[in-house]
């Protein structure tokens, strides 16, 4: 049964609104500080109930604080997401029409790549083919920068991938839109940045942090599906950033 909302919940919601996404240690710290500021007993174990109470109230307006995992570090994050696709939600003014078209082209490039990333050159070239209104190279570079700043894309050495915030919010959209979208063999979540089985008849994907956990201490790793040798480097398990 959901607890009613108090100012501590409202402050937590407002914080998530302005940050967009938080990792688990940030979420815990926020939970604690929101409770302390409004004189509410803080119980570290009750974060899920605390968020649940907010989500019950957000449901009628199709907004949710949703939990998901990062493809890069494997840790849990909480993001505030929109769930509705209507004439009203399309009134959003954060991006111009052609900027959104560039975002979709970027998603196409990333999802259809093997590496789960797209080079800035490929993206900028696609900016030349926009149907709404073409973007000059300089403009497109600025738009990409804005997507990174707003936490929709990640950038590393000139190559772009979908951010954790983007994957959490767009999960169902990505699954509906891209027919050949692969999910991780271990965790069942969308797998973009991942290792792929070399066997062309198999080709399953496993996230890199999932690989680390799945093959931990295994000196002779084999594909869990086709049993072929797993020919990739097995990374170390990353430790979560400690709370505080």
């Amino acid at each position: 049964m959901a607890q009613p909302m108090g100012d501590s919940h409202r402050r937590f919601l407002q914080a998530i609104m302005s940050l967009g996404i938080v990792d688990e240690s940030q979420a815990n710290a926020l939970h604690r500080s929101c409770c302390e500021q409004h004189g509410v007993n803080y119980d570290q174990r009750s974060l899920d109930d605390f968020i649940g109470a907010i989500n019950v109230q957000l449901q009628p307006v199709f907004i949710q604080i949703r939990t998901g995992n990062s493809e890069e570090d494997g840790f849990q994050y909480r993001a505030l997401v929109n769930m509705a696709e209507t004439d009203v939600t399309r009134l959003s003014s954060d991006y111009a029409e052609n900027e959104l078209e560039l975002f979709r082209k970027t998603m196409d490039l990333i999802v259809e790549s093997e590496s789960g990333s797209a080079s800035s050159m490929d993206i900028l070239n696609s900016a030349d083919t926009l149907l709404t209104r073409k973007l000059k190279k300089k403009e497109a570079e600025l738009v990409l920068q804005k997507f990174v700043q707003d936490k929709w894309l990640n950038e590393k050495h000139g190559s772009y991938s979908l951010s954790t915030r983007c994957i959490i919010e767009m999960d169902q959209y990505l699954r509906n839109t891209y027919q050949d979208l692969k999910v991780c063999h271990v965790c069942n979540n969308i797998a973009l940045q991942s290792q792929i089985c070399d066997n062309p008849m198999c080709g399953i994907r496993i996230h890199i942090p999932c690989v680390a956990r799945f093959f931990k201490g295994n000196s002779d790793p084999h594909c869990p599906e086709c049993k072929d040798f797993w020919p990739h480097e097995i990374p170390e398990i990353q430790r979560p950033p400690s709370s505080q």
Partner: protein, 88 residues
């Protein structure tokens, strides 16, 4: 000059924007450089790159601004990626 300005302020409601600007500059971490040509009008020096952030941080306590909601899903019409259309 400065003492007199302070005195005037102490007496009443006079507020001097120029003196205020100097106080703001020192709060914002202004780096004063030695001024050779004895020019009182404009201080020579530079502000560090985080100076406005610093002021914003302090000033945000005066504002009761509501945070705003940003999202990507639903901001465009969803349709499957089109096979490259030929534009005549």
């Amino acid at each position: 000059g400065k003492e007199k300005a302070n005195q005037l302020q102490a007496e009443g409601s006079l507020f001097d924007p120029a003196a205020y600007a100097e106080h703001l500059l020192s709060f914002m971490g202004f780096n004063r450089l030695e001024d050779e040509d004895d020019n009182d009008e404009e201080l020579t020096g530079f502000l560090p790159s985080d100076s406005w952030q610093r002021l914003a941080k302090r000033a945000s306590g005066c504002f009761r601004t509501a945070p705003s909601f940003h999202y990507m899903l639903g901001s465009f019409l969803s349709e499957p990626p089109q096979p490259k259309q030929r534009v005549e």
